[in-house]
Amino acid sequence: MSVLESKQRVQEEVILLIQKILNKEVELSADTPLAEAGLDSMKIIQLISNFERQYDIEFEDDDLIVDNFVNTSKIVDLLTTKYRVGA
């Protein structure tokens, strides 16, 4: 699987997880602000803990900054580049 395909797959998984947390289907492009989609601070924490469980990773403290979780593009970058998710 190419890097692009792998990122695409992770992107889809991330969106599915967000929809599960929001308990509804939402249209999300890579740079849609997640706050606009209804993901508040509590749900972001839920999302982080779901990522850690689903991908068996533990985010480093330095990566736990809001800016890394503002849209799916940033999340996918962090997951695939630093934590090798989908590799």
Binding site: S41, M42, I44, Q46, L64, V66
Partner: protein
């Protein structure tokens, strides 16, 4: 009686601190908590010898441990730090005794007012509108700011005797030296835990066409763990706050500028400490897990942590970014109807006084050099 609790191996650093901070709130039966590093245990002194009480308590402590196991405590980010300039390993004993009196001497009052005057100057630099508010906070305000839900452990509520002749006569004629508690009626108001909620109330339901800055000082009240109170941690204390409301970028920038000014002031006074990211002591365990973690992730709160000569730390100022949370609760928008953002900087004046005395000395003649430094300082002036 004394009891020991074995702690999970990963209870170190921030997680251990959080546990030890939380433990006294489990029950007032706990009258002392000590950490024993050699055995990695918490030692509890209890105000009872009843095993049955301990059994109930044990379950509550276990719940706290289990919650903390699942809580992510993000390590603090350090913004400023001058502790290396102070040789903390050879710190002499505190220059002043632990404060036990419930009054300030005239010299201490003058010093406290002088320190507050410096913080007032910071507020003036940002053209703050100066305010003095009532000590009582209305139930309506509390229901908006939600302090009582986030920090119920700190709340003091106000009650009074109903204006009822028969009832009051009954008290006068009673043999009892006190008034039975059930005669009191809740007023629905609270003793203010901080100043800023009054500012939000003042500008509530308004559309602002420019940013606003307020500063107020007053007596604040928080129900602390009694055996932990000292000159730094009090049930009643003086707080000054600077509150600023505007568009998000301006609020963030203002907070940063005030933080720089306050750090400069702190250093010029010759005090030792750090500015670090912080989390509020949310009482409920789910808030501790979620809100606390998000605060750290979003740098929503910084604290100026003073280091005393006896190795203790105390937060003497906090720098908070509230996003649109409080503006939403109090309906404060810009002219287009979009919610504004807000921030506040809070100073514990008694803690500034205690820190200064601890570090510089308790005699007025020792204070003059630090004061002279300030008089020479262009930024402070």
């Amino acid at each position: 009686m004394k009891k020991e609790i074995a702690l999970p191996q990963n209870f170190t650093g921030g997680k251990l601190e959080e546990f030890l901070e939380r433990l006294p709130y489990v029950s007032e039966v706990i009258t002392e908590v000590q950490y024993v590093p050699t055995t990695h245990q918490a030692e509890l002194k209890l105000g009872t010898n009843e095993e049955s009480t301990w059994q109930v308590l044990q379950g509550m402590v276990e719940e706290l441990i289990e919650t903390l196991k699942e809580t992510r405590i993000i390590k603090q980010k350090v913004v400023f730090d001058n502790t290396e300039q102070f040789d903390l390993s050879t710190e002499e004993q505190a220059k002043t005794q632990e404060r036990t009196e419930n009054f300030y001497s005239e010299a201490y009052i003058q010093l406290r007012d002088l320190l507050d005057g410096l913080l007032y100057k910071v507020a003036q630099k940002y053209k703050a509108t100066i305010r003095e508010y009532p000590t009582l906070l209305t139930a309506e305000n509390m229901s908006k700011n939600n302090y009582h839900k986030n920090f119920p452990q700190n709340v003091y509520a106000v009650s009074s005797l109903p204006h009822n002749y028969n009832l009051i006569k009954q008290i006068r004629e009673s043999d009892s030296s006190s008034i039975p508690h059930d005669m009191f009626r809740s007023e629905g108001s609270y003793l203010q835990p901080c100043i800023c909620y009054h500012c939000y109330q003042e500008i509530g339901d308004q559309m602002l066409n420019r940013p606003v800055v307020f500063s107020g000082k007053g007596q604040c009240f928080r129900h602390e763990i009694q055996w932990k109170t000292n000159q730094f941690r009090r049930n009643e204390f003086t707080m000054r706050e600077i509150v600023f409301v505007g568009e998000s970028d301006w609020v963030m920038e203002t907070r940063e500028r005030i933080m720089n000014d306050v750090w400069h002031l702190f250093e010029t006074l010759g005090l030792c400490g750090r500015v670090v990211t912080a989390r509020d002591p949310f009482f409920h365990y789910d808030d501790m897990k979620n809100k606390g973690m998000f605060q750290m992730m979003s740098n929503a709160k910084y604290e100026l942590e003073a280091h005393t000569t006896t190795g203790k730390t105390s937060s003497i100022a906090s720098f908070n970014y509230c996003e649109d949370l409080l503006c939403k609760k109090f309906n404060i928008t810009n002219e287009s109807g979009h919610l504004l953002h807000s921030g506040c900087v809070a100073f514990g004046i008694d803690r500034w006084l205690a820190t200064f005395i601890d570090r510089i000395g308790n005699q007025p003649e020792q204070w003059s050099e630090a004061i002279r430094n300030l008089e020479r300082d262009e930024v402070v002036q």
